[in-house]
């Protein structure tokens, strides 16, 4: 992923924040706001995932584990301790996710490539099994309903703005991270781990670090989702959830920081719009993915940015500006 001029990403972030903050004002039904909230949460999940995949080259097929932990942290605390425990529960879920990522990271970052992917899948499914079978505690596949955020935040519009603020801040942070020396070394880890060792840096240590950071923001996304939907269910831990963010990232463009966010918006919208007409909406997603991977392999944002740099005179401008500093 080339480090984009930082102004471009700042503009994207601003446009994104403005657009989504207008939703509660312009909406005609509450459902549209719910849809927008889904895009925000999935967007954060996908961007966090892409810090692993697109940036560092670690294809995790088990991020649903952390998403579920965030959601169940909030949900189970509300179920057993009461509504006031919504936010502490979410925080607990995030901390648990970070600790789990730290522990699991030691085990699974020893291997790379497809072995890493299989291990993440295995541990993800293990988590799902536990939640599914432990009916007395988790409610199994009934999930937990009536998870309503406390106080002011029980108002849907206020909770929407909270989601927007937290997602915006998280994406801002991850964007800064991508452009920082830490982001640079992570991209280098993806492109040439052997050379990174020769910079005197430890490859696994860097992979471990981003694995924890990614899982932490993934858990935040899960926690926020429990308050958007007012419910949690074991599907949040299931491997299809992990697969979902992979699709979103590839559709939007894994080489672009905002790609996964755009991919999330497109997929959530397709599912909703097409899902209203036919139950075969996954057929449409499949077709779209096929066209994207074969025809536009850089993803939506990747192709847009490619067009942009191909514009005549643009390359020259870039060169002179970089050399000027």
């Amino acid at each position: 992923m080339p480090s984009k001029p930082k102004t471009a990403n700042t503009w994207y972030l601003l446009i994104f924040l403005v657009l989504f903050s207008l939703v509660p004002v312009l909406k005609t039904t509450n459902y549209q706001m719910l849809l927008a909230a889904h895009v925000l949460v999935w967007g954060l999940f996908a961007v966090s995932f892409n810090m692993l995949f697109g940036v560092t080259g670690m294809l995790s097929f088990g991020q649903a584990l952390y998403y579920g932990m965030g959601a169940y942290g909030a949900g189970l605390c509300v179920k057993y301790l009461g509504q006031a425990w919504f936010f502490p529960g979410m925080a607990l879920g995030i901390v648990l996710a970070a600790v789990t990522a730290w522990l699991l990271g030691h085990l699974i970052i020893r291997v790379s490539g497809v072995f890493f992917t299989m291990l993440t899948l295995a541990f993800g499914q293990l988590g799902w099994q536990v939640m599914f079978k432990w009916y007395s505690f988790t409610g199994g596949d009934d999930g937990v309903q009536n998870i309503i955020p406390p106080g002011l935040f029980s108002n849907k519009v206020i909770y929407y703005y909270l989601v927007l603020a937290l997602v915006g801040a998280s994406i801002w942070f991850l964007g800064r991270l991508s452009a920082s020396p830490m982001g640079l070394i992570l991209r280098c880890v993806r492109q040439n781990p052997e050379r990174v060792r020769f910079l005197g840096r430890r490859v696994r240590r860097n992979q471990q670090r981003i694995y924890i950071i990614s899982s932490l923001f993934t858990a935040l996304a899960g926690g926020l989702m429990s308050g958007v939907d007012y419910s949690i269910h074991t599907d949040m831990f299931y491997w299809t959830t992990s697969g979902h963010v992979i699709l979103m990232s590839i559709l939007g463009g894994i080489g672009q920081f905002f790609g996964p966010l755009v991919g999330a918006a497109v997929i959530v919208t397709i599912e909703d719009v097409v899902g209203a007409f036919t139950e075969y909406w996954s057929l449409i997603i499949g077709t779209v993915m096929l066209v994207m991977v074969l025809g536009l392999p850089r993803g939506l944002m990747g192709e847009i940015s490619q067009l942009w740099t191909r514009l005549p005179g643009r390359q020259q401008a870039l060169t002179t500006r970089e050399e000027g500093n």
Binding site: P181, G183, R187, N192, F198, L199, G200, R202, N206, E322
Partner: protein, 254 residues
């Protein structure tokens, strides 16, 4: 007067893959600021020797003393930190990053700033300045904003050397710095390597097949054959050494 200590000393270094001895009881000393070359036919164990010095391969027996410290058993990271740098036979770059960032990431590593998560890379003035200086001395400054994969083959090899230089090595190992270059490029690279040796106070060991580069640059030559050290000495002696002529140089320089 106290004799100058060698900067690198190999003592009875041996390594075998199965029955094949790739390094066979190799011992030699390299003095500080020396430019020395390792030559030998393909498969003589030249790159394998480099791999042992830089911790990629662990020798079966023998010692590798760098400034008096044994490198055997240390990780690549530790060896790099002690001041051993390496450029690769096939340029080992970060192809999707800019030319500047290829060097800058090495400068940031040297300054231990690669964990900083919040400020953009361009805010790190010291690393950026240092990276531009290195690009300047390589003649690559005008390509700073290009992607590394856009560079020509020869420039990629220079960039690879640049990454090694950014880590401020005392001893630099170059694996065939002129391979795949035109005679003209070879000449330029030779002069550039000499200039870098002077400007960066380096001790250089390089592997080379191009005899113009070997005899035009090296102050001492070591010849490997089937993992054994066949001969060592100043270039004029090696050129006349009958064993070496038979084994390797052949008609080329005779």
């Amino acid at each position: 007067m106290e004799p100058i200590a060698p900067i690198l000393e190999l003592k009875g270094l041996s390594k075998a893959f199965g029955g094949l001895k790739v390094t066979d009881d190799v011992s030699f000393k390299v003095m500080p600021r020396e430019i020395s070359v390792v030559i030998g036919p393909n498969g003589a164990g030249k790159t394998t020797l480099f791999n042992q010095i830089t911790g990629h391969l662990r020798p079966d027996s023998g010692r590798i003393l760098f400034k008096g410290q044994d490198l055997v058993g240390r990780t690549t990271q530790q060896i790099v930190a002690l001041g051993v740098g390496r450029a690769f036979q096939v340029a080992s770059l970060f192809l999707g990053e800019t030319v500047l960032d290829n060097i800058r990431v090495a400068c940031l590593s040297k300054l231990d700033q690669t964990r900083k998560p919040l400020r953009p890379v361009s805010d790190f003035k010291r690393a950026t300045k240092r990276a531009m200086e290195i690009l300047d001395s390589l003649g690559l400054a005008r390509y700073a904003a290009r992607q590394a994969h856009e560079l020509a083959h020869g420039d990629q090899k220079l960039l690879d050397i640049g990454i090694a230089l950014a880590l401020e090595p005392v001893l630099l190992l170059l694996d065939e710095p002129t391979s795949g270059m035109s005679p003209e490029e070879r000449h330029l690279t030779r002069e550039l390597v000499r200039k870098l040796w002077k400007d960066f106070n380096l001790t250089l060991i390089f592997i080379e097949h191009d005899m113009d580069t070997v005899f035009g640059l090296a102050q001492s030559v070591r010849v490997l054959q089937s993992g054994r050290l066949l001969a060592e000495g100043p270039p004029e002696e090696i050129r006349k050494n009958q064993d070496v002529i038979t084994a390797y140089l052949g008609e080329e320089v005779a």
